[in-house]
């Protein structure tokens, strides 16, 4: 709707999603909301609600949810929504006990209504929408956003926060921003300036990398901010993101071990040969690509995930275009999209994925025939069995503007869960290495093209874009929607083509440190922000395929490389959530192949992580354990 007309009538037309398993209540609420002139969508199941939300980003302004629901706890839904879509959520219940209400508060609900809900209470819910937006704007402003921000802001103000109007504005702004971001690529996060701080994949990767560096326990916003060194980002932005991240991790730790390697997963293949890849953002996507797994698929997945779409299940064949879209615009949402990670594992449909924005789609992990594509690119679990050339479907390669949310692609045909999160920051021109993360697990193969320097060994880097992969942990198992998304992140496969995709993998959990990517050549510039977390859940799917239950692995490295052929990217990220540390355990499946040159044989996430970190730190630390709360990355043996 045009901002103009809507704004005048705001809150008329406020788009509300109401979730309640009780049909009587649901009907009553719907009627009441309609009487308030809101646009109501009702669901009686939390999963359905999440699907709707993911499938239609920016399609709703606010969510009303019952606390007690049979399929999913209302609080869990609340968390997911908060992380993935960042929408205001109001909880409802007949239970007015103090502890329940407190739980609502701690989980981030913006209000709690006691049933029976009166229509007067519903009339005012629009205030939460406005408040949230205002806060986001404020954050942006404070960050000294660049013109974009101001531009957006202005739009926002003009729109008077009318939901639809704003959405439109924001959306377009975001899109614009995304494009710009892509152009800028990693270097900075200047793209931050978006009305809500959009945690792009890159940004998130950086964030995760910073958190990892500091240690999850010691990670304080100020230090994280310093480490990230992103212009325009404020401490407040980081603080709130950190809070969400922590919640997320906590949630994950409850979840099985999925390899959440997300965060660190981007470690480029430990193989120093990554250098060749160089273009990868920090993340040696190439390596990952080599593993065949990921890349495209994961990317795709991620993108898909973020976009809330379920990628074609076909193994992520998400046309990269889609993926691109996913990433490209969804900034904010992508962020936590965990679910969306396209599980790349599947076949890398060659095209897929370009999920990672910025991740050079060329991630083909080249040389490695990826037999095992386990590109463990950290999030990418791309163990795509398919020998498909990874990923990135070339087309999108560039676009990966963001790897949108984790593509929950659960199945990489290869099994690669690849949630590849290659968040490339776009900058990476993956030109070279197209192999970047070839997460496509296809055994052998596909990486070609890409010169994935990384791929010298088979390291499979499964970059799991967290987002895609991780589909919300809660949802992981379900991975319902995104599941199908198997956008094959073949990002890597087509890396050469894509090159430069600015992937802003927003949600890509790839913690590709953009900066570090220089180190890794060809590495995917997957912004660290991408990696992590976001969506580890999606990786689950991928991982699950693989066997690895990568929980939220950002990169499911090596998801069991489905590759039928070989490489299994063995990394199954076992997400062992050790207490709070993320251990990326990627169990690499027999490295069958040599190919994945990127990561040799087993690409352990740790290796990836370390590679990544190394890049960041100059190869100092290869600690595999990134303490990620709850994100067990599994060890990616490389």
């Amino acid at each position: 709707m045009a901002a103009g007309d809507v704004s005048d009538l705001f809150p008329v037309g406020l788009r509300v999603l109401v979730v309640d398993d009780d049909p009587t209540c649901l009907m009553i609420l719907e009627k009441m909301l309609q009487n308030c002139n809101y646009e109501v969508t009702k669901c009686n199941r939390a999963e359905t609600a999440l699907l709707k939300l993911r499938g239609n980003k920016n399609g709703f302004d606010i969510v009303l949810s019952d606390v007690h629901m049979p399929d999913m706890d209302g609080f869990k839904l609340l968390e997911h929504v908060g992380l993935e879509m960042d929408l205001p959520v109001i909880m409802m219940s007949a239970d007015d006990g103090k502890d329940v209400v407190m739980k609502g508060v701690t989980h981030g609900a913006c209000d709690y209504l006691i049933k029976p809900v009166r229509i007067e209470a519903l009339r005012n819910i629009w205030q939460h929408v406005v408040r949230k937006r205002k806060h986001e704007w404020k954050d942006i402003e404070q960050s000294g956003s660049i013109e974009d921000d101001e531009r957006q802001q202005k739009q926002l103000e003009d729109a008077d926060f009318s939901s639809s109007g704003n959405e439109g504005n924001w959306r377009s702004s975001k899109r614009r921003k995304d494009e710009e971001d892509q152009a800028e690529d990693r270097d900075d996060t200047s793209s931050l300036k978006k009305p809500r701080v959009v945690w792009s994949v890159e940004l998130h990767q950086q964030f995760v990398a910073a958190v990892n560096q500091l240690g999850i326990d010691k990670a304080v916003p100020k230090k994280i901010l310093e480490l990230m060194n992103v212009p325009g980002l404020t401490r407040e932005n980081v603080a709130s993101h950190l809070q969400k991240y922590r919640l997320y991790l906590r949630r994950l730790s409850g979840a099985s071990q999925h390899q959440s390697g997300l965060n660190n997963s981007f470690m480029g293949p430990s193989d120093p040969t990554f250098g060749s890849m160089s273009s990868l953002n920090g993340l040696d996507l190439q390596a990952l690509a080599a593993t065949g797994q990921l890349p495209a698929q994961s990317l795709a997945m991620l993108q898909a995930a973020s976009l809330g779409r379920s990628p074609n299940k076909s193994g992520i064949s998400m046309p990269f275009m889609d993926q691109r879209n996913l990433f490209s615009f969804e900034n904010p949402k992508i962020r936590s999209r965990e679910g969306q990670q396209p599980q790349m594992g599947n076949n890398n449909n060659s095209k897929q994925v370009n999920l990672l924005h910025g991740i050079p789609t060329n991630m083909n992990m080249q040389p490695n025939p990826h037999g095992s594509q386990s590109s463990s690119l950290m999030n990418m679990q791309m163990s795509q069995p398919q020998s498909r050339p990874p990923i990135f479907n070339d087309t999108n390669a560039n676009h990966l503007s963001r790897l949108p949310s984790p593509i929950a692609q659960p199945n990489l045909s290869n099994g690669m869960p690849s949630g590849l999160v290659l968040a490339r920051d776009g900058n990476n021109s993956v030109s070279q290495a197209p192999t970047m993360v070839d997460f496509s697990v296809h055994p052998n193969t596909d990486f070609q093209g890409n010169s994935f320097p990384l791929a010298t060994n088979n390291s499979r880097v499964s970059v799991v874009t967290t987002k895609g992969l991780l589909q919300e942990d809660g949802i992981n198992s379900d991975m319902k929607g995104p599941r199908g998304f198997a956008p094959s992140y073949d990002i890597f496969s087509d890396l050469p083509q894509h090159k430069m995709q600015d992937w802003e993998l927003e949600n890509v959990g790839l913690t590709f440190d953009a900066s570090s990517h220089s180190k890794i050549q060809g590495s995917l510039n997957v912004p660290p922000s991408v990696l992590v977390h976001q969506g580890f859940s999606s990786s689950q799917n991928n991982v699950q395929n693989q066997n690895t239950s990568v929980g939220k692995v950002m990169f499911s490295v090596g998801e069991q490389s489905g590759h039928s052929n070989t490489q299994n990217m063995g990394q199954q990220l076992d997400t062992h959530i050790d207490g709070n540390s993320l251990r990326v355990k990627a169990e690499n499946n027999p490295e069958a192949s040599s190919q994945n040159t990127l990561f040799h044989g087993q690409f352990s996430q740790e290796d990836l992580m370390s590679a990544l970190f190394k890049q960041q730190e100059g190869f100092g630390s290869a600690s595999n354990e990134f303490v990620f709360d709850g994100y067990p990355l599994g060890n990616l043996p490389v």
Partner: protein
């Protein structure tokens, strides 16, 4: 008469009034809601009944059912039924199986009484048209 009766006696409370007020353009709204309520609550009631026959009693399951029932009874404004629900929950939390069973019997009674009254009410409403709502203060 019927209208006053149904409200004054406390069978339905304020919430019901709200529902009636909601149905501006849809005269059958309240009736639809009531129908939905009865369908759903009957199911829950029979679940509870079955659960009460088991031994030992699974209080948390009972509590769960009751919670669901309470949600819809409050939404429709069935005050008396709701009171029984609350009572049941208290006994449940105390682990008092006998208390639960007793209360449950009461609950069933209230539930069916209300049903009859509502049916009569709607019938009347249909005949005379939505002239007065059940509990609107006179």
């Amino acid at each position: 008469m019927l209208h006053e009766n149904i409200c004054e006696k406390g069978f339905l409370d304020e919430q019901f009034v709200q529902l009636e007020e909601l149905q501006d353009d849809d005269p059958n709204f309240v009736e639809e809601i009531a129908t939905l309520f009865y369908r759903d609550s009957s199911r829950l009631i029979s679940n509870i009944e079955q659960a009460l026959e088991k031994s030992p009693l699974d209080f948390s399951k009972l509590d769960n059912y009751m919670h669901q029932l309470k949600g819809s009874t409050t939404s429709i404004g069935a005050r008396r039924v709701k009171n029984e629900c609350t009572q049941f929950t208290d006994y449940c939390n105390a682990g008092n199986g006998e208390g639960c069973k007793r209360t449950f019997q009461q609950l069933k009674k209230e539930h069916s009484t209300l049903k009859k009254k509502l049916e009569a009410y709607f019938q009347l409403a249909r005949q005379i048209g939505p002239v007065e709502t059940a509990c609107r203060p006179k």
